[in-house]
Symmetry: C2
Subunit: 192 residues, 2 copies
């Protein structure tokens, strides 16, 4: 039987990503987010949401610089990713605190965290206030990836990346499980 639940923010699953930007003094700001999705293929674009009711320096820096990176933690990065969602870049250099390092993006001026295997460099193309959060849409202009996360065809290998995922309601991190099926394939049995 179906029941009504009080409206809460749900999305199953959500990713756990790390948004980064430089402030006006080139200090690296970083912030872990579950509010992130692909949003366009052409041009490639993603959308992120950052809480504008909390002390989020990364949000201020993205709105100023109009450039940011989104890095994808692996399952073994749960502690670092979690911490980067707890403290504020106003108070501490979180990247340094967790023992990580960064380099500048190749196309945008925003920190690429060296320890993350895949990072998307983005330029802001839309900003919209949505309730407690600022919704930021960014065009992906470059992807930085570790060579060892690529498959033999040069594509990012999902299992080698082993991305961290998040249960936004119960606040738990999970890893990915087994491959279930090929898309645009397993459903063809219903197609005429």
């Amino acid at each position: 039987m179906k029941v009504n639940l009080k409206p809460k923010t749900v999305m199953y699953p959500s990713p756990a990503v790390i948004a980064t930007a430089f402030d006006e003094n080139d200090n690296p700001d970083s912030c872990t987010l579950a509010f992130a999705a692909p949003i366009s293929h052409f041009p490639p674009a993603i959308v992120i949401g950052i809480n504008s009711t909390l002390k989020r320096k990364t949000l201020v820096s993205i709105l100023k610089s109009k450039e940011f990176c989104v890095g994808f933690p692996s399952a073994n990065h749960a502690a670092e990713a979690d911490y980067i969602g707890i403290d504020s870049s106003y108070d501490v250099d979180k990247i340094e605190r967790v023992g990580w390092t960064f380099e500048d993006g190749d196309i945008v001026h925003a920190p690429v965290i060296n320890e993350l295997k895949v990072t998307a460099e983005c330029k802001v193309i839309d900003i919209k206030e949505v309730g407690s959060h600022t919704q930021i849409t960014g065009e992906i202009v470059n992807i930085r990836a570790d060579e060892n996360v690529l498959d033999e065809s040069g594509k990012i290998d999902f299992e080698k990346l082993n991305p961290l995922l998040y249960d936004v309601l119960k606040r738990d991190y999970y890893c990915i499980g087994d491959k279930v099926a090929d898309a645009f394939n397993v459903g063809l049995k219903y197609h005429d």
Copy 2:
């Protein structure tokens, strides 16, 4: 060593959700999407992206009705979810084709697929064209959930839902794996 990859739409992981809406004749339109994220806590809101360069009747119906549902398939729904991303609601009643049924939403007038364990009912609050896709932000005004997907405290249990996830680059479906850590907890070791 890090390398640059040609910009493509990446998000690790992405969900695989099913957006639904009624057309003006109350026919149920449905469309599987990987472009979906939570975007605000207060009010609860999500954002979805639907390809506007393809034949997507669900997009037309959402833009007209300003109401939609987002249902979350479980790992055992991969074939049905995949099919609903292949054919067009202009050509076939996809919900019927896969042997599923629906009821009307409790708050919004949009189809809630009975076979999905959790569905968010949404009202459109923002629309923005982003390249190949239409970015639609919706406030979650109700959640319909199977009683058997709830834990003892009445919250949606991530593992009972066992949501389907998606590798947007290599087009593979995965299931969730093991719980890795508690959020706002495992990172506290870096906090002063």
